[in-house]
């Protein structure tokens, strides 16, 4: 138990959870296969097989659309490629569909990389629109190539080798096995650190990058996995329906069904697509059977369901009310209660006195050097040749009035924007064109002007994300606790981040940064929205970290408060450095007073 507790960001895994996560699904799958083999009614068996296939397609969509939060409208591309790969190999070279599954998965991965690498850069609806087009292009190409109607060749001589079963339940069983695989894979995701990583990407990609996560790579991996499951489903689907047409596998309705079954059941929930498929597929099949497949009745139903869900239960049935396990728990006696994800218990806290978070620094070297940094937007100079050196262990305040270019400069230093010219060196490495996540991994962490917590995650998981890149195993948990203690949030560790008050959100961001054992901490207007005493507490906390060896760069317009705590002030106005030095002197500087109060202020009082 104690060992398991160190599983990063995950639950204390008791025996009940092991049963629930691994043994129960396998057992249910076996029971399901046994049960379906007894079904004699061909129509019923076919409906069940379709439910399982669509649950699988929905589950594959749920990986990219639900868990990774990329609303794809193009899942059909992979379903169709899977189906056509297996069938065409079967027809052309007589390859058994069992190997066809492998080939389909390979094709799906290649396609996912080709589609994903450029397309996943797009955000939100732009990604949705682009993803929509790929299956439609494939549809036209396959039609053009003459594959309007491809029949699965019958192999009654060896049905097992060629999946030419006459009993439909075989297909349901095969699909159920893949569904089990997808389920276990998703479970593994939910039980590992990938759960928090994916949640962070889905909520706020920029903030995820600030913890050192290579969000592009993570999305691509999930996209490819999702494609593999979709292609496997495509193969089974093709074998089941016997006649493959481009419209049946690449059509928009395939992508829509993949999305709708997940959406109805519950986005980013394992049970979601299964529930959605169980509800929708029998209904639409009934409609098709009674009104004819061309009546449009089933797609009409999908449309109505989609509208209703979006308006009434936007995140799906499972996310709408009580969790099913909680319902079950109500009737179970206390001792048999099952663990429910939402209230997962936290990894245990190591005894204090573990290694300190902030590395001790060798002497007085320059850890951050900006040389002639410049940023121009469409002809407007936002940052004009700023040069700055920050020494190890220093507490530097970058100040200036509104619109002076502080935040732009800050983004250049942290890799969130690229400088037009100049050079930025951090910890001895030239990082001018590095992406933000690499700078974060180097040991340079930032906070955001408007706090960007991952609201759906607990406070612990938020901070845990910060520790992912710079430690491993149990050390991550230890670093997380140490960071929480450093800011005093340890008592709120198991609370959802969305329920924190603004001052606590600031502390959460600082803790998230500290958990990555940074050498340099950059804070973007951390004082905004804090009361005077909250601001003081935060500055006190930062000073403690500074004394432990952390280099701090703080950007704010509140020159008064910053001056009281920083070693040095660096004042920016209109993108230029107008003063640099000890706080007391800087505040007497005429140019600084003018920048803040206007040119005539001093004149009037002289």
């Amino acid at each position: 138990m104690a060992e398991k507790a160190a599983v990063p960001g995950a639950a204390r895994v008791g025996w009940r959870a092991v049963v629930l996560d691994w043994a129960l699904p396998i057992a249910l799958c076996v029971v399901f296969i046994a049960a379906i083999s007894q079904v004699d009614d061909r129509y019923l068996a076919r409906v069940i097989a379709l439910v399982v296939v669509w649950a699988l397609i929905g589950m594959s969509w749920n990986l990219i659309g639900g868990y990774a939060g990329q609303p794809s409208l193009g899942q059909a591309a992979f379903v169709g490629l899977g189906a056509y790969t297996a069938i065409l190999l079967m027809i052309r070279v007589g390859l058994t569909p069992w190997l066809g599954l492998v080939a389909a998965a390979g094709v799906a991965i290649v396609a996912a990389l080709v589609i994903g690498i450029p397309t996943l850069r797009l955000k939100g609806v732009y990604f949705a629109l682009a993803s929509l087009v790929y299956p439609l292009i494939l549809l036209l190409v396959f039609t053009y190539l003459g594959y309007q109607e491809v029949l699965v060749p019958a192999h009654n001589d060896n049905p097992d080798l060629y999946m030419s079963w006459s009993d439909t339940w075989h297909y349901a069983a095969l699909a159920a096995l893949f569904l089990l695989l997808a389920w276990l894979f998703t479970t593994a995701l939910e039980r590992s650190r990938w759960r928090v990583v994916l949640q962070s990407i889905r909520e706020d990609e920029d903030a995820a990058r600030s913890t050192g996560i290579n969000t592009a790579l993570v999305k691509l991996v999930v996209f490819s996995t999702s494609a593999v499951f979709a292609s496997l489903a495509g193969v089974v689907y093709a074998m089941l329906i016997l006649v493959v047409t481009p419209e049946a596998v690449f059509g928009l309705s395939v992508s829509v069904q993949a999305l709708v079954v997940s959406l109805v059941g519950g986005m980013a929930r394992r049970l979601g697509p299964i529930l959605g498929a169980c509800i929708l597929i029998p209904i639409t099949n009934f409609l098709d059977a009674n009104l004819g497949a061309t009546s449009g009745a089933s797609l009409l139903a999908y449309g109505l369901v989609l509208i209703t869900v979006v308006l009434v239960v936007p995140r799906g049935l499972l996310n709408a009310g009580t969790r099913p396990l909680e319902v079950v728990n109500r009737v179970l006696p206390q001792s048999l209660r099952l663990p429910v994800n939402r209230r997962r218990s936290l990894p245990s806290r190591p005894p204090s006195g573990s290694r300190p978070l902030v590395p001790t620094h060798p002497g007085d070297e320059a850890v951050l050097i900006a040389a002639d940094a410049r940023k121009v937007y469409g002809g407007i100079v936002a940052i004009d040749r700023l040069s700055l050196e920050v020494r190890s262990g220093e507490f530097l305040g970058i100040v200036g009035p509104n619109g002076a270019g502080k935040s732009t400069f800050f983004d250049l230093l942290t890799g969130y924007q690229r400088s037009t010219a100049g050079r930025i060196t951090l910890l001895g490495r030239v990082v001018t064109h590095w992406p933000a996540y690499r700078i974060a991994r180097l040991g340079v962490r930032r906070s955001f002007q408007i706090a960007r917590p991952f609201g759906q995650l607990t406070v612990f998981d938020n901070v845990f994300l910060g520790s992912l890149q710079n430690a491993d195993g149990g050390q991550r948990t230890a670093d997380t606790w140490a960071a929480l203690e450093a800011v005093g949030l340890e008592v709120h560790a198991d609370v959802g981040a969305r329920s924190l008050v603004p001052a606590q959100l600031r502390l959460l961001e600082v803790a998230r940064a500290l958990a990555g054992r940074p050498a340099i901490l950059l804070l973007d207007e951390p004082l905004a929205g804090l009361t005077r005493s909250e601001a003081r507490d935060l500055m006190q906390l930062l000073r403690t970290q500074q004394h432990a060896g952390l280099t701090i760069v703080l950007v704010d317009h509140d020159i008064g408060t910053v001056a009281a705590w920083a070693d040095r002030l660096y004042v920016i106005d209109y993108g230029r450095n107008i003063a640099d030095g000890a706080p007391k002197e800087v505040m007497r500087d005429d140019r600084v007073v003018t920048a803040y109060l206007g040119s005539r202020w001093r004149a009037a009082r002289a």
Binding site: L122, A130, Y144, G296, L300, I307, V310
Partner: protein
């Protein structure tokens, strides 16, 4: 030969422009990508078809009343459905209009059946010879009608109070609120006009294109391409984008097989999204 493709493309593009202008108007003002735009066009096509077969009216007589009826329907849909979603939740809005598209399309299947209908008028298949070129009479008429409607749209947007308020809302909605413009009302009006334009375009397209319930799907993608090319939300951009798409579609016929003509347009769409999501013409994006 090449010139012939260009002329065809320009004429088609002129008709697409009306569809794209409607979509761009909706996106520019509401920031909603209306997936159901093609279905509103389809409704216009059926209006023209039944106007002719049942009432014996020429599609050009049906165009305006049909457009206005679809406009009214659009206002109801926007007020009753789209505006109920929190503003800015683009994913949910996209899903909602996707659902709407499915409902309209399949209701049409249920009511009208899947058989394509042709609306044959004397000008439907007539070619006019102009020097070495041939001009489809129906395309020419539709293109001219489309230009007339767009002139009307231009006058509405630039000369009337409501038109100016719509443009102001697209430019800067918060500033519109400061002078007392109800952004919610402008959204509903914009959606109504946007789909009304699609419906009107549908009546014109019905004179040379088969009328069937699923016709919207192909056209909505063409509209997306045009609007993205034009820099999402800019109406002049969308018009240019539509003409460009018409030309690309027509000229590509010289190089790729007929069945792949749309694939070229789709490919163009993806490439533009990936390379220049702000559109090709450098018009200001109001996103």
């Amino acid at each position: 030969m090449g010139l012939q493709y260009l002329v065809d493309g320009l004429l088609l593009g002129g008709v697409y422009a009306l569809l794209a202008a409607g979509l761009a108007m909706i996106f520019g003002i509401m920031r909603v990508i209306n997936f159901a735009q093609g279905e509103f066009m389809m409704l216009g096509m059926y209006a023209a078809y039944f106007g002719y077969t049942v009432l014996g009216l020429d599609p050009y007589l049906v165009a305006l009343p049909a457009g206005l009826m679809i406009l009214a329907l659009g206002i109801v849909v926007a007020t009753g459905l789209i505006e109920r979603i929190p503003r800015g939740d683009q994913d949910a809005q996209l899903l909602l209009t996707l659902g709407l598209s499915l409902v309209l399309q399949n209701l049409a299947i249920a009511i009208f059946g899947v058989t394509p209908h042709a609306l044959l008028r004397p000008y439907s298949n007539t070619l006019i010879a102009v020097g070495p070129l041939f001009v489809h009479e129906s395309w020419l008429f539709a293109c001219v009608a489309s230009l007339v409607v767009m002139l009307g749209l231009y006058l509405f947007l630039s000369r009337t109070w409501t038109g100016r308020a719509l443009r102001a809302t697209a430019d800067d909605a918060s500033a519109a609120t400061y002078v007392g413009i109800s952004v919610r009302r402008m959204h509903s009006i914009a959606f109504g006009i946007g789909v009304g334009l699609a419906g009107l375009a549908g009546t014109l397209i019905a004179t040379f294109h088969a009328v069937l319930p699923t016709v919207g799907q192909d056209f909505v993608l063409i509209m997306f391409v045009a609007v993205v090319l034009g820099g999402l939300g800019s109406i002049p951009g969308a018009v240019l984008g539509a003409i460009f798409v018409g030309v690309v579609q027509s000229v590509s016929a010289a190089f790729v097989p007929l069945q792949l003509q749309n694939a070229v347009v789709f490919l163009l769409f993806v490439v533009v999204l990936l390379v220049r999501p702000r559109g090709l013409f450098g018009l200001r994006v109001r996103v």
